[in-house]
Symmetry: C2
DNA sequence: CCATTTATTGACAACGTTGTCAAATACTAG
DNA sequence: CTAGTATTTGACAACGTTGTCAATAAATGG
């Protein structure tokens, strides 16, 4: 690899002069500058960031520890959002994926700290509680899509309550009074919070909460994607004497399966029954017919917000709720 | 940040001795080693990789340029596969996402080369042709999920022909003779190659190719997820006098929509009609009923293979096809 | 043309490491 | 106890940069 000294030799100047040219120092005679630039081009010189960093003690790198983020559909948007902001500040991300300790979390953090990352982002692939390793505190750090028991770090999490509220309100606004809710596994925070939002919306509309309308869409030990639970859930809700006319589904997969269950019974979403859901899986929601109205997780926004908070060290140690976006398609409407 | 010299002072030795302890040099008296280790722990010292790198001219970093890989569902597995192998060799990935030049490709490559990455992986989110920037050739590089016009780089791409062949053969093995194929947009390489595989499988089985059985599932300018095209495609195929008894769907979304079309007509997958598909979208395929038999893109394997080829510089400038995995669920079977 | 001032350039140290080699210390045998 | 050897330690240079400051060259004014 060619260094600044070789360029200097080629241009017939001291290496310090080359440094000046590289850094756009105005105190260089034009003629010299041109000569140096020529040499730089000729030798295809590229400054060495590691050496530069050693002088000014800045790595320009931000560590991004992802707890399976990238394997999850669209959660990669979190990465993209973070990168976008980082790159505006001339920083790069060093991404380490720690999947169930395949590479231990400890090792990841050590690696990143040895590389003198200027900050750390710890992102989880679904909203959950995590243990924050002590070492993270040595460097500005934020948590995304997860939170720590002892609120030691700035945290960005999706506003599940709002999402549950909005998903329900969309249906209330259409005049529905009996709204079924097929919930996620209650071990998941999202399940609990969204239900909370659902109840808030009902309360606001002056509708009594009826526990019969809440059915779990996945058994605690379900394999991902097992459709039997949703089948049962829909059956149960439709068996009620006072049938629901609308459904809030815990995720788009549930909605998809519910569509099938409705179809079996000759019910049609958009005519006989209204549906809202969560996640905006781009592979599912737009492809259903009618298109599924669903609450999109603010992955991109959380990534941006997290990174912004790193650069604006003013506000610290807060937990910020990032709102979901309402993706309105047609499934929440009934046309007749 | 604490440096080796401060540790040395604390332990009352020269900084070179600390260096030896850090690097597990056996030529250190046990007593001294203990003293140094104590100081290291006390000061929470961590070696500076950038400085280390400057000496031995190795950054330990591999650049991963992703052309929207992480936004694509499960394509993030590519990253994971790559990281797994990299980390076995004690390297880290520096990931830069270049989405339609939001951060220019040029800037990404400059950044990575300034950081003296030891190699570059260029990954595209769907199998397509790319222009390889000249600079990539300065460093060992591989292409993943995309290929260059002038085959200048080692390339790893999914074996679309095999996938098409397997998806078709699964159905042929069940005795189907009339197999419909709903294809992707023909601008996409996958569409063309999978059809090729389909034809190979038919030919092998001694069944004549019937162009009437091939229908495009998305118009050239379709928005992602528009379901109208599949609706029409299925209708067209079922209208044929000599109806198909099995369908090869271009992707899992098509299959999902086809399931709905069949349901509308009282046809049931697994009883009246058999289906195979591509992608193994974990949000869709297992949740359909019956579970969708589909060909999983070898993202993880491509990531691994790409990284392995970087470390085994023996074989160069080859194009390697990585096979899809056949994910057998029930949709290709008919039980009666 | 000389004395100043100003613009341009270069020598050198430093950043935190590791490699080379020499110095110091500890151990062994006679 | 001494010489000789083996072990342990440290001084110094180097990696590729940038900051500090001094040295040189060019420009200005009288």
């Amino acid at each position: 690899m060619v260094s600044i000294k070789q360029v200097a030799k080629q241009a017939g100047v001291s290496f310090k002069t080359v440094s000046r040219v590289v850094n756009n120092d105005p105190n260089v005679r034009e003629e010299t500058r041109a000569r140096v630039q020529e040499a730089i081009a000729a030798l295809n010189y590229r400054p060495n960031r590691a050496a530069r960093m050693m002088r000014n003690q800045q790595s320009g790198v931000i560590g991004f520890i992802s707890d399976e983020v990238v394997t999850q559909p669209y959660a990669g948007d979190l990465l993209i959002g973070a990168q976008e902001v980082a790159s505006q500040h001339d920083k790069v991300l060093m991404v380490v994926n720690i999947e169930n300790d395949r590479i231990g979390r400890q090792r990841a953090i050590d690696m990143l700290l040895e590389r003198r990352v200027e900050a750390l982002v710890y992102a989880s692939y679904y909203h959950k509680e995590v243990q924050v390793p002590q070492e993270m505190l040595q460097v500005p750090s934020v948590l995304v899509n997860c939170y720590a028991e002892n609120e030691t770090l700035t945290t960005f999490i999706p506003d599940e309550v709002q999402a549950g509220y909005d998903a329900t309100r969309l249906l209330l606004e259409q005049g529905h009074k009996r709204i079924g809710h097929i919930t996620l596994n209650p071990d998941i925070i999202a399940a609990v919070k969204r239900l909370e939002g659902y109840r808030e919306a009902l309360a606001e509309a002056g509708i009594a909460y009826d526990p019969q309308l809440i059915v779990q869409g996945e058994s605690r030990f379900d394999e991902a994607g097992d459709s039997a639970s949703v089948e049962k859930a829909v059956a149960e809700l439709l068996k009620l004497t006072h049938q629901p006319t609308a459904f809030v589904c815990g995720k788009d997969e549930f909605a998809m399966q519910a569509y099938f269950e409705f179809a079996k019974r000759g019910l049609q979403v958009g005519r006989d029954i209204a549906v809202t859901s969560f996640d905006n899986q781009r592979m599912i929601a737009p492809g259903l017919s009618p298109g599924l109205t669903t609450m999109a997780l603010p992955h991109f926004e959380m990534g941006q917000a997290a990174m912004n908070s790193i650069f604006n060290q003013g506000d610290d140690m807060v937990t910020r709720l990032i709102p979901f976006s309402v993706i309105e398609r047609q499934s929440h409407l009934l046309k007749n």
